[in-house]
Symmetry: C2
Subunit: 146 residues, 2 copies
DNA sequence: CATCATTATATCGTTCACGATGCAAATATA
DNA sequence: TATATTTGCATCGTGAACGATATAATGATG
């Protein structure tokens, strides 16, 4: 058979699988603090810079607003964020952290460290990680312009 | 703020984003032949080896059967595969290609080549791809044993 | 042989992703 | 200023993922 159609020659399958498995590894840590992985990403965006528009968050995460909107509604229902209409531009929705959402940053602080241990393997070390990051950033930059 | 909680220091976010964007790049090619990306993965498993159990397919793709079962039912409804109870073991379900499913392999042959061009970038070339594959395989092997 | 545990798959509920579409606010144009 | 276009977000429908649970067939144990 055509070797190009073999699973072992697929970059996409590797990325898809690695992404799913690493997200699964996050699950027990994140469920302790009441977040899903995509919600954790939104929180990181807001911890870095509170009070952003839906579109800003979506762009930062390379997602569409139709994915982010329901995500934010669930997070608002959980009391992590507040959504309010923009003052100057009535179309915009500004998302800001609640005190509960701000406080969660401390509880989340241990997550990257615990995950660092889980991810560390022969191929991914302090030395090799930057190169891998650069490769993935290059790929993401390339794909996001297609 | 804690730099470990910054998006730019996250391996998982890069894998998640790269996986989504590359899957999106597959979309126009796959929709032409009537497949979604996960369905394309199942087809690759079956083209390589027809007549496998649900569990074999799930294991090969690092998925759970509760993901694969509905996937296969949709693929059966589309006429790509046939599901039949195992002869010796009545619990097993054997998945085999229909003529339509087998014929699809030829139509899918162009997909990897077209995608190769879309993925090629400074960081991912004929020389660097094997190293990246090995790193991801190592990570996947590591994570799948957690 | 009866009962219990295991295995293989399926069902259910929730949360993403995302294409397509809708809608209202803002802006551009006539 | 009326109309058309664009922009920002939301809604809808479908297809994954996946934890939890169910069901039926097989295998093991008493």
């Amino acid at each position: 058979m055509d070797p190009a159609l073999k699973l072992e020659n697929q970059l996409c399958f590797r990325l898809y699988t690695a992404s799913r498995l690493i997200t699964q590894a996050y699950h027990p840590l994140l469920s302790k603090i009441g977040l899903t992985y995509p919600q954790y990403l939104v929180m990181m965006v807001l911890w870095e810079n509170d009070g952003q528009k839906v579109n800003d968050i979506a762009k930062r995460l390379y997602l569409e607003t139709n994915t982010v909107t329901p995500l934010l509604k669930r997070m608002e229902a959980e009391g992590f964020v507040k959504r309010s209409r923009g003052a100057e531009d009535g179309r915009q929705v500004i998302v800001s952290l609640t005190p509960k959402g701000r406080k969660l940053e401390q509880e989340a602080g241990c997550v990257p460290y615990k995950m660092g241990g889980a991810v560390a393997c022969r191929s991914i070390t302090q030395e090799t990680a930057p190169g891998l990051f650069a490769t993935l950033d290059d790929l993401i930059g390339h794909l996001s312009k297609l």
